[in-house]
Amino acid sequence: MSRVRWHAGAGLLTFGALGCFACSAPVICRSDSELQHGASVSSAQLSGSMLLSAAGDTESFYLDVALAGLPKLWPSSSAIKNADLGLSVALAYTKPPVGGDGLTEMPRVQMGFDRQPGTTTSSFPSIAKGTEQQLFGDCALGGEYCCAFGSEQCHGRLQVTLQRLDGAPFPPVQVAWTVGASATTDSCPQDLGSPTLTLTSEAP
C-alpha cells in the first residue's frame, strides 16, 4: 500500500511540475499574423512635375524605397503584412483654360512602374489619378521587390515612367506627380522592432 502511495505522490508531483513549467507568459503573440494588430509606417511624400508636349513624350525617374528597423525575430508568416507605393498625377495646361475640371478634354497620360503598362488618365480628368505597386512580398513566392525572410531591412528601386498618349490638337500639358510609400509591419513582442520607411527619388 505504501508503494502505491509513493507512486501516487510522485505522479502528483510530476503533474505539478508540468503545470508550473507551462504556466502562461505575460505577452501573447498570435501565430496567424492576420489576427494581430500591426504597426503602420509611412514615408514622406515626394512630388514633382514635368511637361509633356507631344504624343509619345516620355519622362521617367527612379525611386528608392527602404524599409528598415524590421524586427530581428520575424513572426511565422512575415514581418511585413503589406507595403505599397502610391503614385498619383494631376494634369494641367500651361495656359488657361488649365483643365482638370472634368469638363475639359485633355490628352491621356499613362503612368507605370519599371516600363510596365500601368494606369491611364481619362480624357476628361477631374481628380488626380493614381496607381499602386505592391512591395516587399515573400521571396518564397517570388516577385520583383521581395524581402527575404528574417531581413532587418529591405530595399527596392523602381523606375517610374509617365508617357503622353495623345498629341495634337491638345497643347502641351504639365504633369504634377506625387508619390508616397506606406507599410504595415508585424512584430511580436512589439519592442523587437522599430520600423522606418524612407523614399528618395533620382533622375535617370
Partner: protein
C-alpha cells in the same frame, strides 16, 4: 504520377493490373499446380499492393463524385496513408494475434458467403453453409508489408523531388510496419506459453497522458526554426503511445516497437530576452521507437523501460522546418491487473532527443517528461 492525374487513376498504373493478374493466376492455378514458397507469398505481395491502392481509389472517386472535383493532393496523400495503415493492420495483425486471425477468418467468410450463395442459386443448389476460412499464421508473410511502399509510390500525388519533407514523413508508416514485422517474431515465439496474471507472451500497450515539451534550439522556435536565433520553448502536450512486442521467456524482458505522438497548443517561447505565448500555434512530435521493458517480478506490476527513438518535431500551422533526430527514453511504472491478461497502470517517462533540420543551424535539444495512464494486454 503528376498532380493532374484523374481520381482513382492509380488503379490503371501498369503495376496495379499486373498485381491483379498475379493474384488471379496464383490463387487459381499456381497454388494448385506448383505449391511452394513462391506461390505462398506471391498473393500476399499482390494483395498488400492492391488493397491500399483500391481503398485509395475508392476514396478519390467518392470525393470527386460528392464534391465535383478531385481531392487536393495533401488530402489524397493522407487518405493513401490511412489506406496503407488499414491494409497493413488487416493483413498483418492476424499473423501475430490469434483474436485478429479469428476475426479475419469470420470476416472473410462473411464477405465470401453472398457470392457463394448467388452461385448456388444460379446453379440450382441449396444455400451454402456459413463456413469460416482456415488460416495459418506465418510470420514470414509479414515481408509482404513491404509492398505498401510500392503502393505509395504509384498512388501518391505530387512529385517526390519537390516535397522531400512530406515524403520523409510518409516513410513513417513503413518504419512502423518494419518494426512491427521484426518484433512480432519475439511476440509470437512466446505467446503460446502465456499464463494469466503474469507478464509474459504477447505485449500490447496503449498510453495516454500529459507531457511537457521543452525545446532548446539555436534556431527560432516561434517561426518554425526559420532563423538562426537561439530560443527555448515549453508547452504542455497531450501525448499518446502505442507499443507492440513480445516477452523473452523467464527473463521478464519485453522487446517491441511503437509509435508515439504528442501535440501541444500555445507554446511559450523565450528568445532575445523576451518571453511570450505563441497563441494558435501547435508543436507536434512524432516518434518511432524500439523499446525494451523489464519486469523484475513478472507477476507484479513494477516495470522499468528504455527506448531508442527516431523523433520528428514541427510547429504546425506555419511554413516552418521539421526537425528530426535520434533520441532515448527512460521510463518506469506500475500496473495493476484488471483481468487475466489485462492491466491498468501509471507510467512516468523522460524522453530526450537531439534534432536537426534542413538549413537549421546546430542541433536542437528536445526533452519530454510525461506521465501516462496505460492499458496493457500482456
Amino acid at each position: 504520377m503528376s498532380q493532374a492525374r484523374a481520381p482513382g487513376a492509380a488503379l490503371l498504373h501498369p503495376i496495379a493490373p499486373f498485381s491483379l493478374l498475379v493474384l488471379l493466376v496464383n490463387d487459381h492455378w499456381l497454388k494448385h499446380t506448383h505449391p511452394g514458397m513462391l506461390s505462398g507469398k506471391l498473393s500476399d505481395f499482390a494483395t498488400m499492393l492492391l488493397l491500399p491502392v483500391l481503398l485509395h481509389a475508392l476514396f478519390e472517386l467518392g470525393y470527386a463524385f460528392s464534391k465535383g472535383h478531385a481531392p487536393p493532393p495533401l488530402l489524397s496523400n493522407r487518405a493513401l496513408l490511412a489506406s496503407i495503415a488499414l491494409s497493413g493492420l488487416v493483413f498483418g495483425l492476424p499473423e501475430v494475434w490469434k483474436p485478429a486471425e479469428t476475426a479475419y477468418c469470420y470476416g472473410m467468410a462473411a464477405l465470401r458467403w453472398p457470392f457463394r450463395a448467388i452461385a448456388a442459386l444460379l446453379t440450382g443448389h441449396a444455400l451454402p453453409e456459413y463456413r469460416r476460412c482456415a488460416a495459418t499464421a506465418d510470420l514470414s508473410d509479414l515481408l509482404a508489408l513491404s509492398s505498401a511502399y510500392v503502393a505509395w509510390r504509384i498512388a501518391h500525388r505530387g512529385p517526390v523531388e519537390r516535397a522531400p519533407r512530406r515524403t520523409r514523413r510518409a516513410h513513417a508508416p513503413f518504419g512502423v510496419c518494419v518494426l512491427f514485422a521484426i518484433w512480432s517474431y519475439s511476440a509470437h515465439a512466446s505467446a503460446s506459453s502465456s499464463r494469466p496474471y503474469e507478464h509474459d507472451g504477447f505485449f500490447f500497450d496503449f498510453a495516454l497522458g500529459p507531457e511537457l515539451i521543452y525545446v532548446h534550439s539555436p534556431a527560432s522556435a516561434s517561426n518554425g526554426f526559420r532563423q538562426p536565433i537561439a530560443s527555448t520553448a515549453t508547452a504542455l502536450a497531450r501525448g499518446g503511445l502505442l507499443e507492440l512486442g513480445g516477452t523473452l521467456r523467464g527473463l521478464g524482458l519485453v522487446f517491441g516497437g511503437g509509435i508515439g505522438y504528442a501535440q501541444a497548443d500555445d507554446p511559450i517561447v523565450s528568445t532575445l530576452g523576451q518571453r511570450f505565448e505563441l497563441s494558435g500555434a501547435q508543436f507536434s512530435v512524432v516518434s518511432l521507437e524500439a523499446f525494451t521493458k523489464y519486469y523484475p517480478d513478472p507477476k507484479a506490476g513494477l516495470h522499468l523501460g528504455v527506448s531508442l527513438l527516431f523523433t520528428g518535431l514541427e510547429l504546425s500551422g506555419v511554413s516552418g522546418k521539421q526537425l528530426r533526430g535520434p533520441g532515448l527514453a527512460l521510463g518506469a511504472g506500475y500496473a495493476f491487473w484488471l483481468a487475466r491478461q489485462w492491466s491498468l497502470g501509471l507510467d512516468a517517462r523522460l524522453m530526450a532527443a537531439g534534432l536537426n533540420g534542413d538549413s537549421v543551424p546546430g542541433r536542437s535539444l528536445l526533452l519530454m517528461p510525461g506521465v501516462f495512464a496505460t492499458i496493457a494486454c500482456h
